[in-house]
Symmetry: none
Subunit: 224 residues, 2 copies
C-alpha cells in the first residue's frame, strides 16, 4: 500500500485529489498548510508528497526545501502556474516533478509510479565534490576548505560550481560568461576578476593556484 501526502490549501482540490488517489488504490492524507504538511511527514512519512506552490504562510518552495533537509521522499508539485520560471525554481528547490492543474489522475499516478521505480537511490544527505582539501556542495550551497566553511558570494559560487561540474576540463571565458552570467557577449575581463577573487579564498597560494588554474589562451579549469 502506497501512502501519499497532499499539501494543498484549497479544500475542494485537496479532497478531490485525495478521493481520486484512494480510488486508484493509494492511502491518502491531506494537509492545508506547509507547516501542517511538514509535521505530518515527520510523524507519519508518506511514500509520495504532492504539494501546491501557493500556500498560506510558508510557500511551496520553502516547504520543499525544508522537507528535503531530512527526507528523500519523491515530491511532485501540483500548481496552477504554468511558467518555466516557476517550474525551474520548484525543481531547483528539490522537487522531482511538476504538474499543471488541472491534473489528469491517470497521468499523476503514472508519474508517481515512475518516480517510485527510480527508488530512493540516494541515502547520502548531501553530496559534495572534493578537490584536495576543497569541498563544494552544490546542493548545500557551501564551500569548505580544509573542513572550514569559506564565505563565497553567489557569483563566485556559481562560477565554482560550473568549473566543478566540468572538473578537469577547460572552459573558455566565453563559455563561463554564457553559463554563469548568461551573457552571450561581454567583457571577458570580468571572468578574470572573479577567478582572481575566488583564488584568494580557495587557494593556499593564490599566486600559484593548484586547483583553479589558467590555461593561457584557452580559459580556466578546476582540477583535483
Amino acid at each position: 500500500m502506497t501512502a501519499v501526502l497532499v499539501i494543498e490549501d484549497d479544500d475542494r482540490i485537496r479532497l478531490a485529489l485525495l478521493l481520486a488517489l484512494e480510488e486508484e488504490g493509494y492511502t491518502a492524507q491531506g494537509a492545508a498548510t506547509a507547516e501542517e504538511g511538514l509535521r505530518q511527514q515527520r510523524e507519519h512519512p508518506a511514500d509520495n508528497v504532492l504539494v501546491d506552490l501557493m500556500l498560506p504562510g510558508l510557500d511551496g518552495y520553502e516547504c520543499i526545501r525544508r522537507m528535503r533537509r531530512d527526507d528523500d521522499v519523491p515530491i511532485v508539485v501540483v500548481s496552477a502556474r504554468d511558467d518555466t520560471h516557476d517550474i525551474v525554481a520548484a525543481l531547483e528547490a528539490g522537487a522531482d516533478d511538476y504538474l499543471v492543474k488541472p491534473v489528469a489522475v491517470k497521468e499523476l499516478t503514472a508519474r508517481l509510479r515512475a518516480l517510485r521505480r527510480r527508488g530512493r537511490a540516494r541515502t547520502t544527505p548531501v553530496t559534495a565534490q572534493v578537490f584536495g582539501d576543497l569541498e563544494i556542495s552544490e546542493e548545500a550551497g557551501e564551500v569548505r576548505k580544509a573542513g572550514r566553511p569559506v564565505p563565497v558570494t553567489r557569483t563566485e559560487f556559481r562560477l565554482l560550481c560550473e568549473l566543478a561540474d566540468h572538473a578537469g576540463r577547460v572552459l573558455s571565458r566565453q563559455q563561463l560568461l554564457s553559463r554563469v552570467w548568461g551573457y552571450e557577449t561581454g567583457d571577458e575581463r570580468l571572468v578574470d576578476v572573479h577567478v582572481g577573487r575566488l583564488r584568494q579564498k580557495i587557494e593556499d597560494d593564490p599566486a600559484n593556484p593548484r586547483h583553479l588554474v589558467t590555461l593561457r589562451g584557452l580559459g580556466y579549469k578546476l582540477q583535483r
Copy 2:
C-alpha cells in the same frame, strides 16, 4: 561532464536541442532513428536520453522498452502530443519524464538535473589520445609526457591536436597553416618553428623525433 543522447527524427529540432544543450554545458550527441539511438547508447552510453515518440521504423515507446532492458539511464520523452494517454503509455514503457514541445531549455535542463539527483550521477571521465608515453587531452587542454604535465602554448597545443586528430597521416604545412592558424596563405617556415618548439617539449630526443616526424617535401605527421 554530462552526456545527453537526443533521439529525434526532425533534423531541425534535433540540431536545436543539441546546440541548446551544449550551450548549457552538456555534451550532446544525436540520432535520427530509434535503431541508431539504441546502437549509440550501447556503444557510447550517455547520462541522459531524450527521445521523441514519433520516429520512423521503431517508435519511441518501443525504443524506450528496448533501452530499458539493459540500461537504467534516465529517459525523458520530448513529444508534440499532449495527451494523457500518450504520457501514461510512455511512462509505463519506462520513461522517467515527459515534456511537450516546444520545450523550454531551462525547464529541460532543470528536469534533467532533478533526474540525475535521483539516480546515481554518472559522468563521463576526461579522455585522452595516447601516443606511446605521450597523452593529449583536448578537453582538459593538457599534454602529458610519461604521466607528467608538459607546459605547451596555445599554438603548440592546437598544432598538436590537429596532428593527433589525423594521427598517422601527413599534413602539409599549408594544411596546418590553414587549420591551426586560419591562414590561407603565409610563410610555411612558421610551421617549422612551432614543430621544433613542440619537439623540444614532447620528444625524448628532439633531434631524432619518434612521434612528430618530418616527411620531407610533404609535411609532418604524428605517429604512435
